[in-house]
């Protein structure tokens, strides 16, 4: 019962800083039902926070946006061998 009351209080009294934390969390996990309701309710009364959510999504999109498609690139075997030789040489010099 206490837990339910706490959740209802959250839904009715969510502030912008708490809303921004929930918006950030929503990029990392599904929100709980009361968190989701609280955020949607807050959006009805706040002009700033819906904009912040759009901004966070733009940043998330930019963070995951490859300027070139790198999914299939990797070091060539020649490059790996060069690096291993350079590392061995550097280690020998350091000892």
């Amino acid at each position: 019962m206490k837990n339910l009351l706490r959740r209802l209080t959250t839904i009715l009294t969510l502030k912008c800083d708490e809303a921004s934390l929930l918006m950030s969390d929503s990029l990392d996990r599904p929100l709980l039902w009361d968190e989701w309701l609280a955020l949607k309710g807050h959006f009805l009364a706040c002009r700033v926070c819906p904009k912040l959510l759009r901004q966070l999504k733009v940043i998330r999109g930019a963070s995951h946006h490859d300027r070139i498609d790198v999914s299939h690139v990797g070091l060539t075997s020649d490059a790996k061998e060069r690096m291993k030789k350079a590392l061995s040489a550097a280690e020998s010099d350091g000892q």
Binding site: L21, A62, H65, S71, L75, K84, A90, G94
Partner: protein, 198 residues
């Protein structure tokens, strides 16, 4: 107890404040096979030029040699290597920025008329080269603790659970760091790239 990078310098900051005795015979050549491709992909995504990306990855491995004994598992090695590579990429951009400024003194480019509004189609925003320059500068400005979670979450795309295990921090701590990181990026982009709202 939170364990995280405490120094602003990733060469000095270790993710474990109480390391186990050093293991004998850490084979750094194995790092090339284990982490070379993912480091290279990160560098390519940031730089877009294979030769430079390879050079930065090699410099990263060479810089990492001195601290090799302090790492106990792949997760901490990976975190450390990415922290070093991030600095290498940032240094590259700083050098490139200086070159760009010098060129700009002698070559006057016509101003580009662009709409810079958060509400425009993100695909349009991502086509703007200047957006990426600003975005990269904003990431470089992040404090180390925030840059660390940014790289783990958004670049390496580790799950929150994996990041908590890597950094040994609570879910609440991670949640707050990610929030601060995202708000810092938003504020930086707002100041330096997007047009302020009326």
């Amino acid at each position: 107890m939170e364990q995280s990078l405490q120094s602003s310098d990733p060469f000095l900051s270790m993710p474990d404040s109480d390391p186990e005795p050093a293991k004998e015979g850490v084979d750094v050549a194995q790092w090339v096979d284990r982490f070379g491709d993912s480091l290279f992909r990160f560098a390519m995504a940031k730089i877009g030029e294979a030769t430079t990306a390879e050079d930065l990855v090699q410099e990263t491995f060479l810089a990492a040699i001195s601290g090799k004994q302090r790492f106990r598992n792949d997760a901490t090695v990976s975190t450390w290597l990415f922290a070093i590579l991030k600095r290498k990429v940032a240094d590259h951009y700083r050098r490139a920025g200086r070159r760009t400024e010098k060129r700009a003194e002698s070559v006057e480019s016509p101003p580009v008329e662009t709409s810079r509004d958060w509400d425009q189609d993100p695909a349009t925003i991502y086509e703007d080269r200047e957006f990426w320059e600003t975005f990269d500068r904003c990431i470089e400005k992040l404090p180390n603790k925030l840059a660390e979670v940014y790289i783990l979450r958004e670049v390496n795309q580790h799950s929150p659970q994996e990041i908590r295990e890597i950094l040994n921090i609570s879910a609440t701590n991670l949640s707050m760091r990610l929030q601060r990181c995202r708000l810092a990026l938003r504020d930086c982009l707002q100041r330096n790239w997007f047009v302020e709202d009326e």
